[in-house]
């Protein structure tokens, strides 16, 4: 059963007194206890689209619109969204320590979150269970310390505990491991897998690191300049990527044995003046003139494998 589905998501940002479109016609969905990877270069609209799901963009200078938005198959009323935050959708961010309030102890912030999640009084038993679920053993030290006293890894585990505390159904993990040391990364990824299995959580895993995405995600969306160019099962994307941009991305991953890394020439387009045709056209090695004139639609070339490109076979 789909825990979240959004169709035709558009996001525009105000620059001086005109609006520029950052995300155009995005369709996104996720099943219960599924991990969906969202990969792409930074600035391709990954973070912005997920923040839009919970209306977390600054109201003053942003505009969000969509054809349909369903959570647990019932339509979402925009005024209800603030109520969803934490209870249905929750977030963890790239820099764990600055995402915690420096002025309050972890115990205070944890209690506050638990109140958001459930009506009844918060007791120590619930706190202990939560900390164990996220693999934090030294209970007393963590609870009594301030954010700046925690290590990056511990802080991220606390952030995850917060998400579980408000027993949300969908977790958006925005580059959760990027700021952490190598040996801590794997721990966090395994933790995400564990809570997905135990609690049937749907997790959006946003990252620019494809290797980590393939390791954790069931399905992967490839983002480019504000729209999806390809999405399919992660194994399919890993072995048989169809879109030129996805293949170029894969070539950038350093593999043992291959010593020379390829680079994608040019840079992603400026949101101010997006080209008419396919957005990847200027950097695409298989570019045809049709790519320049029309923008390719997203079509299901194989079962469960969607592609936005005019080339039949690659």
């Amino acid at each position: 059963m789909k825990s979240l589905e959004i169709k035709g998501l558009n996001i525009d940002f105000k620059k001086r007194n005109s609006f520029i479109s950052v995300v155009q016609g995005l369709d996104l969905d996720i099943l219960e206890s599924e991990i969906v990877g969202i990969a792409g270069e930074s600035g391709s609209g990954k973070t912005v689209s997920t923040l839009a799901l919970a209306d977390l963009l600054p109201e003053g200078n942003s505009r969000i619109s969509y054809k349909s938005y369903k959570i647990k198959s019932n339509n979402v009323d925009r005024k209800q969204i603030p109520y969803f935050r934490g209870r249905l959708i929750s977030y963890i961010f790239q820099d764990p320590i600055p995402s915690l309030d420096p002025m309050f102890t972890i115990r205070y912030q944890l209690k506050e979150i638990l109140k958001v999640g459930s009506r009844k009084e918060v007791d120590d038993k619930m706190i202990d269970k939560l900390l164990l679920d996220v693999g934090l053993k030294d209970r007393e030290r963590v609870l009594s310390s301030y954010p700046h006293q925690l290590s990056g890894g511990m802080a991220q585990r606390v952030a995850i505990a917060f998400a579980l505390g408000s027993n949300s159904k969908i977790l958006v993990a925005d580059e959760p491991t990027t700021a952490l040391d190598a040996h801590i990364k794997k721990g966090i990824l395994d933790l995400l897998k564990k809570i997905r299995d135990q609690r049937g959580l749907s997790i959006f895993f946003i990252s620019h690191d494809l290797e980590q995405t393939f390791y954790i995600a069931d399905r992967v969306y490839i983002f480019y300049a504000g729209s999806v160019v390809e999405y399919a099962k992660s194994s399919v994307i890993k072995e048989k990527p169809l879109h030129p941009y996805t293949r170029a991305l894969l070539d950038c991953i350093p593999k043992r044995g291959v010593d020379e890394l390829k680079q994608i020439r040019g840079k992603s387009p400026d949101f101010g003046d997006l080209p008419k045709g396919c957005l990847f056209y200027p950097r695409c090695t298989f570019a045809m003139d049709i790519c320049q004139k029309k923008r390719p639609p997203l079509i299901e070339v194989k079962k469960g494998h969607f592609l936005r490109c005019f080339k039949e076979k690659i």
Binding site: L51, A54, L56, G60, P82, F84, R85, G86, R87, S90, Y91, F93, D95, P98, S99, L100, D101, P102, M103, F104, E112, I113, V116, Y146, H148, Q149, A159, F162, A163, S166, S168
Partner: protein, 321 residues
């Protein structure tokens, strides 16, 4: 914590001594002494003035006078005021209380008004309230305080309801306690307004700036994303961080309590330390000036100490290493 405070006061002692010496020299730098005023009165002869000078040992070299004064200070004898020829402590006594009363009331009024206004301006940023508040703060910051005092007094006269300066009305002693407080309160209104309006304007701007900066930080977005209500995010979390720099400013304001506003006190005819000091300094009533200088130095060092302690206490990042 106690040793920290003791250490600070131990360091402060030599500091105050050095400053008192510097001040003593400055006062004596300007030529002449207190008794010059009498030299122009035709009926006062030279010998009489000389007698006064011997009486207060003004003829001795400056350093000798300073150490004599210092010796007396050690056993808390602040010396005599030439003008009032009673102990300096007595002259200062009531004046210090009056100035403290005025500055504390304006401090209270300033914070009572400035904090909410600053918060409203930040929360409703760039909307009607914010624009009105920042326009008002521009206006209040730009009027010289002594001119504001003057205008308020003039309006009080036109309105006829508020007393025109002074601290108590003539029949004060006959009033019952309640009416005494009411009378004192009515007299307090104008001088407090004068001192506070300027302070409110700058405090509102700082509060607004701090709160805006904190509202833009990462953890505010994270808190909202975790489902904390907008009210709690703003008034508990954001405000808690935004208050920190203000606490230090509050500490420093304590040290300024005694400097008060001499000009406001003169125009509003408030019998405080400011107006007394202005005439004492110009007439070189040395021991009176030194007495008040000592008191305000202690207040200043105390204020700074409180500010540092408050800062440490307020911000866990500094307190807990």
């Amino acid at each position: 914590m106690l040793i920290y405070i003791l250490k600070r006061f131990l360091i402060a002692l030599p500091l105050i001594l050095v400053i008192s010496l510097v001040a003593f020299l400055f006062i004596n730098l300007t030529p002449g002494n207190f008794f010059n005023q009498m030299r122009l009165n035709p009926q006062i002869s030279e010998e009489t003035i000389e007698k006064y000078i011997e009486l207060y040992q003004l003829d001795k070299p400056v350093l000798m006078q300073y150490f004599a004064w210092l010796k007396r200070i050690i056993h808390l004898d602040f010396g005599y005021s030439f003008a009032y020829n009673i102990p300096v402590a007595k002259v200062l006594g009531t004046r210090v209380l009056n100035t403290l009363l005025l500055t504390l009331s304006s401090l209270f009024f300033t914070w009572l008004v400035a904090l909410p206004l600053g918060i409203v301006a930040a929360v409703k940023v760039d909307r009607a309230w914010d624009r009105l508040i920042s326009f008002l703060s521009y206006v209040l910051l730009s009027i010289p305080t002594f001119f504001m005092a003057f205008l308020l007094l003039y309006f009080a006269y036109l309105a006829g309801i508020l007393p025109l300066g002074g601290m108590v009305s003539a029949n004060f002693t006959e009033l019952s306690l309640f009416f005494k407080i009411l009378d004192l309160f009515k007299h307090l209104i104008i001088p407090t307004l004068v001192i506070s309006l300027g302070a409110i304007a700058s405090l509102v701007r700082i509060m607004r700036g701090n709160l805006l900066e904190v509202l833009r930080s990462n953890y505010i977005l994270a808190l909202r994303a975790r489902g904390i209500s907008e009210k709690r995010v703003t008034y508990v979390h954001a405000l808690r961080s935004a208050i920190n720099p203000l606490i230090t400013i509050f500490g420093y304001q304590i040290s300024g309590l005694l400097s008060g506003a001499a000009l406001t006190e003169i125009i509003c005819n408030w019998p405080g330390l400011g107006s007394l000091m202005l005439s004492a300094v110009r007439s070189q009533d040395i021991y009176l000036v030194m007495g008040s200088m000592l008191v305000s130095s202690v207040m200043l060092i105390g204020g700074n100490l409180i500010a540092d302690i408050l800062l440490g206490f307020a911000d866990p990042r500094i307190r807990v290493k």
